[in-house]
């Protein structure tokens, strides 16, 4: 028991009480793990990105009404009542945050990584994004305008990353495998492939 944190012990104490009161089942935790490890995750957003890279009409639709697009794909997981997709280009780099809590488009990206919810990212990305992105491996020239989206209401944001160079021969399914979660938050630029 010595390696359990006080939060862990308290969470399990509360869980046992709720189970006794009939408000929670012991299986609920496994349902949560299955749902958010296997069914909901960044593979959903990656499908949208790959389709947008190969289909200009779809891309236009994604950038103007992502909410309808997500509905048509039937992604579960919630938190996309209204989704806005913003496009990275050679001139504009977008990044997403929630400074007040940790809002995130679950249905397309899954549950957020730990760093997204930590104070360092939430405090700094709106104040010194160029420096912070550089520390996270994204070095942007000064000609690139940075646009940060702070999800302070129920609108959720996702970045459409630039298609990497050297991928002209790849099919949509192969392209989807190249798309990372971090590139759709806007803290990674996808590396080009040797052609």
């Amino acid at each position: 028991m010595a390696d359990e944190s006080p939060q862990e012990i308290r969470a399990e104490a509360l869980e046992s009480i709720l189970i006794e009161k009939g408000l929670l089942t012991a299986e609920a935790v496994d349902d949560v793990i299955t749902r958010y490890s296997e069914q909901v995750g960044p593979m959903n957003g990656a499908r949208l990105v790959a389709r947008a890279w190969v289909d200009p009409q779809f891309k236009k639709q994604l950038l103007t009404d992502a909410t309808s697009v997500v509905k048509s794909f039937g992604f579960e997981g919630g938190q996309v009542e209204k989704l806005v997709v913003v496009e990275n280009t050679n001139k504009v780099h977008n990044a997403v945050v929630c400074t007040l809590c940790s809002c995130y488009p679950w249905a397309v990206l899954g549950l957020p990584p730990k760093w997204y919810k930590d104070p360092a990212y939430r405090s700094r990305i709106v104040m010194e994004p160029r420096q912070l992105l550089s520390e996270m491996g994204v070095r942007l020239g000064h000609h690139v305008d940075i646009q940060v989206w702070d999800s302070s209401a129920e609108i959720r944001y996702m970045v459409l990353p630039m298609r990497p160079s050297g991928t002209q021969h790849l099919k949509e399914e192969q392209l989807a495998e190249l798309v990372t979660r971090d590139s759709m938050i806007g803290v990674e630029v996808l590396p080009g492939k040797p052609s």
Binding site: M1, R10, I17, V32, L100, S102, A120, M127, Q147, D150
Partner: protein, 223 residues
């Protein structure tokens, strides 16, 4: 409300630690907290997300910054279950001590002795609502966000208070968190995305920040 949760632009937090980013739940207890949030909501301890967010904002500030996202959620769910009278903190503490905890452990939850009413259940699924009143602003308008140091739950971040920006999107009507979190009704308001330049926010060039703000947070700026 002012608080440690309002992190935008706050100094001193250092580098972003990206380790362990590929794991959805780092430990099983984190998924248990996730499940308990669903259970607490289903049990009627709270009726909407705004209220849950407010409960998380009200936890012990040290716990907020040190116990991680699921530690914060645990504080939120314990706060609301306790305020609803479904469990007592002493009941949880006694059980935790039996499992090896100490009475000296920092407990995140800080329930109020006379909490807000739980309020009505949502009038429909989600948070977007039909709103009859015409919007006060349109895309392209210059606005200023209020200096709004309120004690209740709000979604106006401190770093944009008093700053001038431009409306870049209008999202029609949405449930107003400032009342909804306190059981005072959905009170839908027009919602806008407002773009603030880095010059206005921080006095330096090179970027801008878009923030989603409800109409009552904004005033018009002439010219």
């Amino acid at each position: 409300m002012k608080g440690v949760h309002d992190l935008g632009g706050k100094p001193g937090f250092g580098r972003v630690d990206q380790s362990g980013a590929e794991t959805v739940f780092h430990d099983r207890w984190e998924a248990k907290v996730f499940a308990m949030v669903g259970a607490g909501s289903a049990a009627g301890a709270w009726s909407n997300t705004d209220r849950f967010r407010h409960a998380v904002e009200r936890i012990d500030p040290e716990a907020y910054l040190t116990q991680g996202y699921y530690g914060r959620w645990l504080g939120g769910v314990e706060t609301l279950l306790t305020e609803a009278g479904i469990v007592s903190q002493e009941e949880i503490t006694v059980r935790a001590i039996a499992r090896g905890a100490s009475r000296k452990d920092l407990v995140a939850a800080q329930p109020l002795s006379s909490p807000d009413p739980v309020g009505q259940p949502p009038s429909s699924i989600g948070s977007d609502r039909t709103i009859v009143r015409a919007p006060e602003f349109k895309v392209g308008d210059q606005v200023r966000s209020l200096v709004n140091a309120v004690s209740h739950h709000t979604r106006l971040p401190e770093y944009v208070m008093g700053k001038r920006g431009q409306i870049v999107m209008h999202h029609n009507g949405w449930v107003f968190p400032d009342t909804n979190a306190h059981g005072k009704g959905e009170n839908p308001k027009h919602l806008y995305t407002v773009k603030f330049s880095s010059e206005v926010l921080w006095g330096k060039p090179g970027f801008s920040v878009c923030v989603d703000l409800f109409e009552p947070y904004l005033e018009s700026v002439d010219g």
